[in-house]
Symmetry: C2
Subunit: 495 residues, 2 copies
């Protein structure tokens, strides 16, 4: 691929028929209610992959996806990816099968593979949702529900994009494959092995990977060229053999909770500086070019503050904020398991407490190195306390960051498709969150990847009141229709 | 009461009939299974006063107590003590009524008032109970169940003690009153006001208050002459208007959880030193006499370590341990509400987190002063972080410590009763936990109080697998029978 990207776009692959954009988008508009109903059905399935009690729902969710793709005439498989070992080290739980599907086998066309997931983060009404998180609720054109934006609507938008071509008896401009999983929210357990196993079969003819598991930065449509990785840790401090009455025993026992708070407080300074030796040193320096690019991105700091609802952010200027969202690591303490967490008062000395915290990964950090740095550091600060309690540090997720070349024809095609559908220039952005599978597709398959989000900047993924706008859902479907056509225009690499 | 205690015991109040100890204890032994069944019925009622969802069970529990006392011919009232304002500041919830009862009105006899409670701490099987906490389970003579020892069995033992005299048509040696409440575990809401309101009516003829809401220190029976108080705090840090995705927002937001961990870590040092200015200075110094008394108490440090299941305690010698259990303050961090506390992983930045911690109170600390010291201190350490988040510190319980005179005839009578039933000398001990109502009885009514525990040293009150031994339950009932007789021997104060 030495030709300049712009030139390559002019070389049209011969077999592709004329692109009937208007007919396709009219079809999408006229089927909007049907698409919303399907999303409602999908959101109603509580496919929370982190809750083992919901595993049946998760299996059902995968069956629903497979059935939908089968009814469209795809070649569909439910791929067994084995079992999951629960933290007790003994129980094995069946992982949700991965759905693969194929539409079109024309060797003269490009083959894209759309990756998505249909599992969701936990959600309970009492967490502060205004509506039942599993009953899709339309308020002023915003469709509220857990998983609506992350990632059920984008997956459906891709399916509907393919479906529209079929319904209108138009030939797909490229072959389209799907890989839909059900464990993304807990680290895509089993998927890496499945991709490796099918590298020379299902994935052998795939040219490009498309992922739509993220969101825009503003009201301007975006293409995403990087994500942070994530190292998720459990730090467990264990003391007495069972919980104790704090009146009866307080003062004589060295309390695990005090120890845990003590070591957690050494992770990060009040002004956001990571205190674990070696972490900051591994981060690639910010280049002048990057700095300039960040300057040009549409991002309103005041809007961002208002949306979050805070009076002050960690940094006050746009470039620092974007850089610390996208290309610097950070530590978040998510919570503590085993301590008293209910409303009310309980006079307990918890016997075993487990902190959950994570460190977002950026180039050139290495999860294996981070695991060692964090483990060594926490054990060293714990040792200084001279506590008889036992500390166990475990890295339960170790996902690498991902970074793409924004000059690649996949991105040029994306810019054209966005311009056509939204009549706006795309922002080139990165993602603070983690889509570990991007890195796997890159490392294992050696394929080029594009991230093409359709989620809104204020969709509240992972938090209360997650939503997908009708606008993003429907215009997003049109974007995917348009993008399939643009990808077909990319010159075959074999030329 | 200037006569020496020993002398006073020799002056027998004339109306009391001869004490038929053997008949009474045989009656108790032959009714053991019936007593266990009644305890089973009581434990089956999930009267968790800290859980507003269980309020109906709590009301039912009070009705069951009232009905039992009524069937014994007592003059019983269910006293309305008003409503409870929930933390939202809006909802009012009916408090469980207080049960009062009276057996005997002979003005020539002493009148004792037995205080007890029938509400319980929270308990769930998944907290680590070996058996269903609300299904009393007999394993090797130990009766496992939430509330078995704290405080349902002791309340029943008092009721059965009175019932035995009645069943055998023996005159009660003293008039016996009962005050049984249902909010002890959350701070005895409403009870102080009720005691004040009935000071000149129900309580006017009460000579002595007896409380059996604690446990022995070893296998040797004990009399308790002091308890610690408790100041329970909520420290809430509020930031963003809702939970955020830690990937998407991490690095740009000043996280409430980091702030909270930071201020919690300033409460207490790894070696147990309270760091809040003014707290340690307020503690009464340990006298030589106290030190000698502690030296003589039966307390095996190795046993204590084994029971708790730790290799090392905060102090290694008996006197330091007992002193820090009984007469020094301590800080316990119980847990954090609003953060992620479930099993598994969740990549959330919690928007609002509330730490629960408590400081045990001892003479000469003053809860109002402690409230100010803690609030001022936390706000000052929080201010140093220069965080835009909001800190709110609230003291939700402020219970004073209590201390009795061990030379009082009530205690002399207790020693004799213990010697008779157990053929052992009583240990004079204090309690690390809090029984705030003791202080109220002392301050509001000006009555003398004795604490006469029958709970075992290893009953696990407030923790998993709470139990009451058949031995303690049944021999404890005999102790109460015997004690009623001994109290009748105390010379009337009016003499």
């Amino acid at each position: 691929m030495n030709l300049p990207a712009v030139l390559s776009l002019l070389l049209v692959v011969s077999t592709v028929q004329a692109f009937q954009y208007t007919e396709l988008t009219q079809f999408i508009d006229s089927h909007q209610e049907e698409y919303v109903e399907t999303l409602r059905d999908w959101v109603a399935i509580e496919s929370d992959s982190s809750n083992v009690m919901r595993r049946k729902d998760l299996h059902r969710m995968m069956d629903v996806v497979a059935q939908k793709l089968r009814l469209m005439g795809g070649t569909v498989e439910l791929v067994d990816i084995g079992e999951q070992e629960l933290p007790d080290g003994q129980t094995l739980l069946l992982l949700p099968k991965v759905v693969t599907a194929q539409f079109g086998t024309d060797v003269n066309k490009h083959t894209v593979c759309v990756y998505g997931h249909v599992d969701v983060q936990p959600a309970k009404l009492e967490d502060g949702w205004a509506t039942d998180p599993y009953n899709l609720t339309d308020i002023n054109g915003h469709l509220y529900g857990r998983g609506a934006s992350d990632n059920k609507a984008p997956v459906l938008a891709w399916i509907h994009a393919v479906g529209a071509y079929q319904a209108l008896n138009m030939e797909l401009p490229v072959n389209v494959k799907f890989v839909i999983e059900g464990m993304e929210e807990t680290g895509s357990n089993g998927l890496d092995a499945m991709i490796l196993a099918q590298r020379d079969t299902f994935f052998s003819d795939v040219d490009y990977i498309i992922i739509s598991d993220c969101g825009w930065l503003s009201r301007r449509p975006a293409l995403t060229y990087g994500t942070r990785g994530n190292c998720y840790f459990f730090a467990e401090v264990e003391g007495p053999k069972q919980d104790l009455h704090s009146g009866v025993y307080g003062g004589t026992v060295i309390e695990p909770m005090t120890d845990l708070i003590g070591i957690l407080d050494t992770l990060i300074s009040p002004n956001g500086k990571i205190l674990i030796p070696g972490i900051r040193e591994a981060v690639a320096p910010l280049s002048d070019e990057e700095w300039k690019m960040y300057q040009d991105i549409q991002f309103d700091v005041e809007d961002y503050k208002n949306k979050i609802g805070v009076s002050q952010l960690m940094y006050s200027n746009k470039v620092d904020l974007l850089a610390h969202r996208w290309r610097y690591p950070t530590v978040t303490i998510h919570g503590i398991e085993g301590a008293f967490s209910d409303p009310g008062t309980k006079t307990v000395i918890p016997a075993k407490v487990t902190a959950k915290f994570s460190i977002r990964q950026v180039p050139d950090m290495d999860p294996a190195m981070v695991e060692k740095q964090v483990t060594d550091y926490l054990h060293s600060v714990f040792a200084k306390r001279k506590s008889p309690n036992k500390l166990k540090v475990t890295m339960v997720i170790g996902a690498k960051p991902w970074l793409a070349d924004t000059q690649h024809p996949l991105y040029e095609a994306g810019k054209i498709a966005i311009k056509r559908v939204f009549d706006m220039d795309a922002d080139l952005i990165r993602e603070g969150g983690t889509i570990p599978i991007a890195r796997t597709f890159q490392d294992v398959l050696g394929k080029s990847i594009i991230m093409m989000p359709i989620g809104g900047f204020d969709d509240g993924m992972h938090s209360q009141n997650e939503k997908m706008s009708r606008y993003n859902y429907i215009e997003g479907t049109k974007l995917f229709i348009s993008y399939l056509n643009e990808v077909s225009q990319i010159q075959k690499i074999s030329v």
